[in-house]
Every structure is written in structure tokens, then in C-alpha cells.
């Protein structure tokens, strides 16, 4: 519905600005005015909006209503684990006893925070079957970077300077090769076999004295548990390499298997996926790095250590002896870590197992219901997500992208499209454990209805979406003539 007056979101902040309006009132200066520095050091060109508080509230509320979100829509975005984000977790993270503490205040003034972090390290060690954890990394890709830097540091510490190659499956998320490149590795692609597992013959060929390691996402981005995984780890270890685990899909494995038991050496978790911290429209996340005993000395700094005797333990930050160093200014995304701690503590052992049970059940329920309507390229039991190909529909003239856009009209967010790259017209659907069966049934029906529309009225699908605040956007124009900020119009052109 279009809103009238200033509640309409079309006008940007700088266009709403009216000289002398204020959006907040600050206390008067209560100390004698001090001499200012040389005038040349002071600016007189600060261009910020001048708007009142009601306008700010109305504008941002209006903008929020243009979004689909978990709280308003089913969000089956594969690989992103868009599960319900509990409100209690947000509430506690804002308590002054957590949000109001300074990262550099003396540890004796932050013992509660440090104990929480120490306990969370323990939970994540137990869940992954690893020996240690650093919570300092600020997102999944940041965890990957830290993890592959640890692999690099470990090889270099052994005097093994020849290990320049990092093998990454063709189904991997783009952050894996990007992280390996940032850590100075040469990326080599590892093909998948017909069943969607790592191609063992290809791996054996790569496994030599120049192989630093492999980066494996488990379950893979095809939503499949690699039945060769123990053998993959064995081959890499025999060649002197290390195995990195991308924990983006851990929701499938919680309480079902531990990465450490399978042979992984180092892995990251996405707390903003598996452990329900809100994604926030693109962060903040947290990507703790977990590792086996032999890699502990290289963990990113800092980690939390416990000292003294019970019950009067003391907690402190420490730098592991051969740490890859600091990866961020302070100790990690504490507010996110508080939320994840609260989540794990709330669910406990039984609840954590229930997550994987229901996430995998819900995905297979969708798989079963739609496999006759949409092509299932790997026809086997899936884990937490199912990857269909829309190539049957493509043959009838409508693409996977168009189907995804049409779902928006049905009141569902779109699945992940065209990923993994090895599935043509991929539609990757991850329902998570927190959706009701009624929602899953409605979603299944929507995808069946869209399939029927492709026969009855293909243009309806091709032109979708129809009911969103805007229709299909001209992305080519955005890239060709980048307009990345508002500027006052000058001689008819908004941007130089």
C-alpha cells in the first residue's frame, strides 16, 4: 500500500532535510569552553540530514516494511539456514551487563563475559569434537581465512614450505577459494563424482607433497552427506595435508556426527546460521574456528583461558603460543556470541539433537513431495536442504530464476538460485527445523501451482514478481552507470 506524505519512503534522507530541524537534543556544555584549534583544521561542509525524530521513525519503519524476513515470510534460502531467531537472545545481548562493557576494561571487571565465552568455547568443542576454539572471527568467511592461515602456519612451522595448493570441491561456496587465495594459496578445483561426493580418483591425483589441504563443506552444498568423507580425510592426511571443514551446513549434523571424529583438522561454524543469531540483512555474523590438538598453538588470538581452583575460577584472554595473530580489533562479535550461548543453553542436549532431526526431516519431506514436479539431479536422501534443477521447466521456456521470482508473489522468499554451480538451473531449498508442516505444505503447493502456470500462462511467471514493492530491476544499468550515493542534482546529471 502506498503511503502518503512524509511516510512515503521514496524521498531519501538528504531530500527530506529541512534546515534547523533536529532529530535529537544533547545536554548543554557543562565545562568552560576551551580554545578551539586553528580554524584551518575545522570543517564547515558536514552534509548530514536535518530531520526530526518522528520523521526518522516513520521513514525507517516504512523501509522495514519493504523487506521479506523470517518474522514475516518463509525464507527457504538454501545454505543460509534462515531459522527462527529467538527474541530472548536479542534481549539479553542488549543488557547493560553485556552491551555496556568495554573490550579493554580489566578482566576482573568482565569475569561474567569471559566465563560466558569460555563456556561457549566448550559447547562448540563438544559439538564439533574438536580440542579448542577461537571466537575471535567475525563471520563465516573470516573464520575460513583464520582456518586456512592456521594450516599455512602449521606447515611452515614444520619447515614444509612446498605446500602451496589448496584443493576445493567444484560445489564449494565462493568464499572458500577467495579465503584460500587471501591466505596465499593456489586454488585447485576438486571435481564431484556422479553421486555428488568428492571424486576420490581426482583427489588421489592431487594429494602430493605440494598439497596444503582441502576445504570441505559437509554436508556439501548439494545438501548431501559425502559418504566418502572418512576416506577423503585419510587420503589428505597420508599425503601430509590437512582437512578444513566449512561448517555452513552444520544444522544437519548437530548431535548426529562430530567433525573431529571424521578426520577434520580445523573447521568454522556460522553462529548466524546454525545457532540462530539473526542475519540482520547481511550481518553481523560470527565464525568461530575449532581445531584439533595439534593446531591449538596456531589459533587466532585471543582465546579465553580458565585459571585458579573451583569454585573460584578466574578467566582471562590469552594469545596461543604460535598464533596466526589478531584477526580483528578486539575479541570477536561478543553480542552474537551471547545470543548463540543463550540458544545452546536453552535447547540443551535434547534440543540440539532435535534441530538436526527436524531440519533433515523437513527437507526430505519437501524433496519427496516435489521430486515428480521438479528434476532432482541427485536422487538420494538429502540432509538439511534439497537441490532441485528447474531444467524440466527451462525446457518449457521458464527459468529457475523466474520460478524463484514468482514464489515472491506467493508470499515466500526465493530459494538460493544457480548455486551450486554444478547443477544447471539450481533451486536450493532449506526449510530449517523451525517451520510448521502447514507452511511446508503451502510452499509445496505454491511450487506445484507455479509449474502449472508455466503451462497455462508462462508470461505470468516470466514477468514475476508482480506484488512486490518494485518489479524486476535493471541490474545491467546499475553496473554500467554506477550510482552509489545520493548527490544534489547538478546540470541534469545526478552523478559525475
Amino acid at each position: 500500500m502506498i503511503k502518503g506524505g512524509n511516510r512515503n519512503t521514496a524521498k531519501l534522507l538528504m531530500e527530506r532535510s529541512v534546515p534547523d530541524r533536529v532529530g535529537s537534543v544533547l545536554p548543554a556544555l557543562d565545562v568552560p569552553e576551551q580554545p578551539l584549534p586553528d580554524r584551518a583544521l575545522l570543517r564547515d561542509d558536514l552534509a548530514l540530514p536535518e530531520v526530526s525524530e518522528p520523521e526518522v521513525v516513520q521513514y525507517f519503519t516504512g523501509l522495514s516494511q519493504l523487506n521479506y524476513s523470517i518474522d514475516t515470510h518463509f525464507y527457504p534460502l538454501g545454505s543460509c539456514t534462515m531459522k527462527y531467531n529467538p527474541k530472548i537472545n536479542d534481549e539479553v545481548a542488549f543488557w547493560p551487563g553485556f552491551a555496556g562493557i568495554h573490550p579493554l576494561q580489566p578482566p576482573e571487571l568482565a569475569q561474567g563475559a569471559l566465563e560466558l565465552l569460555w563456556r561457549l568455547q566448550g559447547f562448540l568443542q563438544e559439538i564439533t569434537g574438536m580440542a579448542g576454539v577461537s571466537l575471535a572471527t567475525l563471520a563465516g568467511a573470516h573464520g575460513e581465512l583464520a582456518g586456512v592461515l592456521m594450516i599455512r602456519a602449521c606447515h611452515l612451522a614444520r619447515g614444509d614450505t612446498a605446500r602451496r595448493k589448496m584443493a576445493i570441491p567444484d560445489s564449494a561456496h565462493g568464499t572458500n577459494p577467495a579465503s584460500a587465495a587471501m591466505a596465499g594459496f593456489e586454488v585447485v578445483t576438486l571435481p564431484s563424482d556422479k553421486a555428488g561426493n568428492v571424486d576420490l580418483a581426482a583427489l588421489r591425483q592431487l594429494a602430493g607433497p605440494d598439497l596444503a589441504g582441502v576445504m570441505i563443506t559437509l554436508p556439501s552444498t548439494l545438501g548431501l552427506f559425502d559418504t566418502h568423507i572418512v576416506e577423503v580425510c585419510r587420503i589428505v592426511h597420508q599425503a601430509g595435508g590437512l582437512v578444513y571443514g566449512d561448517g555452513a551446513n552444520m544444522n544437519a549434523l548437530l548431535g548426529r556426527v562430530k567433525l573431529g571424529d571424521l578426520g577434520f583438522d580445523v573447521a568454522h561454524l556460522n553462529l548466524h546460521k546454525t545457532f540462530s543469531t539473526p542475519h540482520g540483512g547481511g550481518g553481523p555474523g560470527a565464525g568461530p574456528v575449532c581445531c584439533v590438538e595439534s593446531l591449538l598453538p596456531y589459533l587466532a588470538a585471543p582465546v579465553v583461558a580458565r585459571g585458579g581452583d573451583g569454585p573460584d575460577y578466574t578467566y582471562r584472554l590469552m594469545t596461543p603460543e604460535a598464533s596466526i595473530g589478531k584477526v580483528s580489533a578486539f575479541h570477536g562479535n561478543f553480542g552474537v556470541l551471547v545470543r548463540a550461548y543463550t540458544y545452546i543453553r536453552t535447547l540443551g542436549e535434547a534440543g540440539i539433537r532435535s534441530i538436526s532431526a527436524n531440519a533433515v526431516l523437513n527437507a526430505n519431506y519437501i524433496l519427496q513431495a516435489l521430486k515428480d514436479t521438479y528434476h532432482l539431479p541427485y536422487d538420494r536422501r538429502c540432509m538439511h536442504e534439497v537441490v532441485f534443477s528447474a531444467d524440466w521447466q527451462k525446457a518449457r521456456g521458464v527459468s529457475g530464476l523466474e520460478i524463484a521470482k514468482r514464489l515472491l508473489d506467493y508470499g515466500f522468499y526465493a530459494p538460493t538460485m544457480y548455486f551450486p554451480l554444478i547443477v544447471p538451473e539450481a533451486l536450493m531449498i532449506e526449510p530449517t527445523e523451525s517451520e510448521t508442516r502447514e507452511t511446508l505444505d503451502a510452499f509445496i503447493q505454491a511450487l506445484r501451482d507455479i509449474d502449472r502456470e508455466i503451462t497455462d500462462n508462462p508470461d505470468l511467471v516470466r514477468q514475476a514478481p508482480h506484488s512486490t514493492p518494485v518489479t524486476r530491476l535493471d541490474e545491467a544499468r546499475a553496473a554500467r552507470q554506477p550510482n552509489l550515493r545520493w548527490r544534489r542534482e547538478r546540470s541534469g546529471s545526478e552523478y559525475p
Binding site: T9, P35, M82, H102, G184, F330, V336, P469
Partner: protein
Amino acid sequence: MPFQSHYIPNTQQEQAEMLATLGLSSIDELFLDIPQEHRNPSLDLPPPMSELEIQRELGGLAARNRPLGSGPSFLGAGSYHHFIPAIVKALMTRGEFLTAYTPYQPEASQGTLQVIYEFQTLVSNLYGMEVANAGMYDGATSLAEGALMACRVTRRSQVAVSDTVSPACVEVIRTYCQPQGIAVDLVRHWDPQVTSQTACLVAQYPNFYGSIEDIAGLARLAHGQEALLVLSADPTAMGLLQSPGHYDADIVTGEGQPLGIPPSFGGPYLGLFTCKQQYIRQMPSRLVGRTVDRLGRTGYVLTLQTREQHIRRERATSNICTNEALFALAATIYLAALGKQGLKQVAELCYHKAHYAAARIAELPGYSLPFQRGAFFQEFVAQCPAPPAEINRRLLERNILGGLDLSGPVYRPLLPPAVDKGMLLCVTEMNTRADIDALVAALGELG
């Protein structure tokens, strides 16, 4: 009865019915691809807790921390105590913002996309720079990515970092640069060595010790060797001081935490990242652009994505994916609420209060301000008559959180020999005159 979580709707009955559609009779059968010897391991986690119990437990943990608001606090050094209007939390925690994903489907994400476009506009204006991206993890990683970007732009592989840059940031720059074979040299801020091999000169504005350096001079020095000037700049100070763009800086980054984000024990924060227009194709992280839809209506999309990891993979400008969009939203709301006058007022309050505190401390016997000859903003170093750790301990007895102790092994070698008992003090609008007078009185007694 088995445990039923309030976050998971499926009942036992529903599970059984859904399993039946798959021809299965137990959950365990879903997991047969996992090798049997590793399947269903023991999981030593505590039992589930009710919301009431978890509130009690967390209340106990929170009570063992001292929040900045519980007494006068003068600690800064990269994380700052500023006033946050109530509307920031009220708006950013709306579920429509909080529980959305990265805006890959623009038609269903115009709210987040328009916010990021606003953020890019306001951050560009704040720094006087041509373009800003959608944000980075934090100030330190933003600065490190700025150094990497300068190496790509100049095709050089040496980075000169001023010794007045935050030591934590310097360490992150090293972590990021060294694996790629980029040399990181710490240079003296009063005589920075920049050569024809240097990709960039990295400096901080105001610097880690609060002082305002000659940014125009640094820019001339860098540009004289066709190197870039990469800055980390405090966004609050931009309410008062000339923008880095005014001094012709090439890449300007910053810690966005002062813009409406609580200190929260160090995170989540927000990396600000801006540069000159000519370098946008080497920028890391997301960019939002303005365009039109099929009906000619204005809309916003993620753009220039061929720089990014999901398209370019190992040849991307960075591996960054999830960044800090929610806190870019917080900063945008903060800047809208404070506005042109408010940010200037905050900066002036910080400036005058810090200078008042500094002048009073300089009068105390035994204390001196070693860097007082230059201009400073809201932080300054006081040389103390006793070890700063000892002074801080005794301030705490009066419920005053003192400044950062600079006498330890990290900071001491970076300072002149005479500054052997330095304390870095920070004064913001959160400190009342009574707070400052209490600090000064306590320091006088302890000195």
C-alpha cells in the same frame, strides 16, 4: 515424553506422519549416510532450560561485569562510550530488518537495500569521500583491507604504517598482508619513509594517542611517490574536523562503533570503507546502486558484484560475504537522528570536555601531558607520577574506570623514552563535569 522445544513446531505425531511419507519409521533412518561408527555420538551438553531459568543464569553472568554506565569511565582506545538515542535500538530490532538475509533478491529486500544506499551516502559525506561501500567487519579489518586494496591499485607490495596507528590495527594489517607476501613496515610518524616501492602510507586521524597529525603533509608525501594515503578516521571527530577527503586521502576507513553501536565487549562493530571513485572496481565488500525497475520506478540493487567472491571466487577483491549490515543500519539511523547539528554538537562536547580534563590534569603535581603541544580531539596521554596500573586500581576503589595503561610491552616501545608511565584517557559527552572533577580530584590524591 521426549523433549519438545518451543522453537521447533513438529510434534512426535507430525514427525511420524512426515516420516511415513518417506517410507521411514524413525529419524535415525534419515542419517544412514553417516558412517555407523561415528553416528549419534555422545553429546555432553547441559539439559534444556526454560526462558525464566536462562534469564536467571545470564543475569548472574551479567552482574559480574562492570558496564561503562555504572560509574565515571575514561577508557577509549578504539571503543567509545557515546550516547545512543532510543530510536536506534527500537528501529534496528524490527524483525523485518533483523531477520532478513543479505539482499540477493532485490524485489523482496528494498528496505535493506535503500538503507545501505543511505548509509553509503552519509558515510561518503562524513569522510568527504566520493564513494563508500556497504560496510566491513570492524575498523581494524577495514583498514587492513584498505592496505590490500592499495597494493592492488598500485601493483606494489610494501605497506608503510605509521607508528601512531592503533597497535591492534597494525597486528591485523600484518595478519592480512604477510601471507600474500606484502611487507609491512612500521614508520615513525614524524618522518615516515615512503619510497617508490611503497603501495600506501597508513595513518590514523586523530591518531591512537588522540593527536591530530598533518594529514595534508602525509598525503603530499605519499602522492610524491605515487603511493596512496590510507587512513583510519574517527567518525565522531568528523563532526568538527576537516574531512580526510579535504586532504586528498585516497582510501579512508574507520571504526563505525561510535555511531550508535554499544561497546559490547568489542563487537559486533562496523567497518567503514570509502575511497576515490576511480578505485571502485578494486573495492572489497558489497555496494548498492540505484537503478529502475521494469516500470521505471526507482529501486536499489547490489551492484558491481563481479568484484565479489560469489562470482569471482579466488580472484575476488576480498573473501568478505556476511558483513555488518544491521550495524550499518544502526549507524544510518544514528546519523539521521543526530543529523548535521547533532553530530557537530557531540564532537564539540567531546572536544571541550576532553580539553577541560586535560588542562586540569596538567595542573596536578607530578602529571604532565607529553603531546600537549599539538592539537587533539577527545583522547590524550597523561604521564603519571606512579605506574598507571596502580593508579587505575586506586581509581576503581572510587568506582572510576581510568584510561588505558601505556606502560606495558605493547605500547611502551612506540612512545618516547620520557613517557614511561603513560595513560591514554578518553572523555566524551557521556562524562559530566562532576565525573571529570572526580577523576581530577582522585588523580591529585593518588599522585
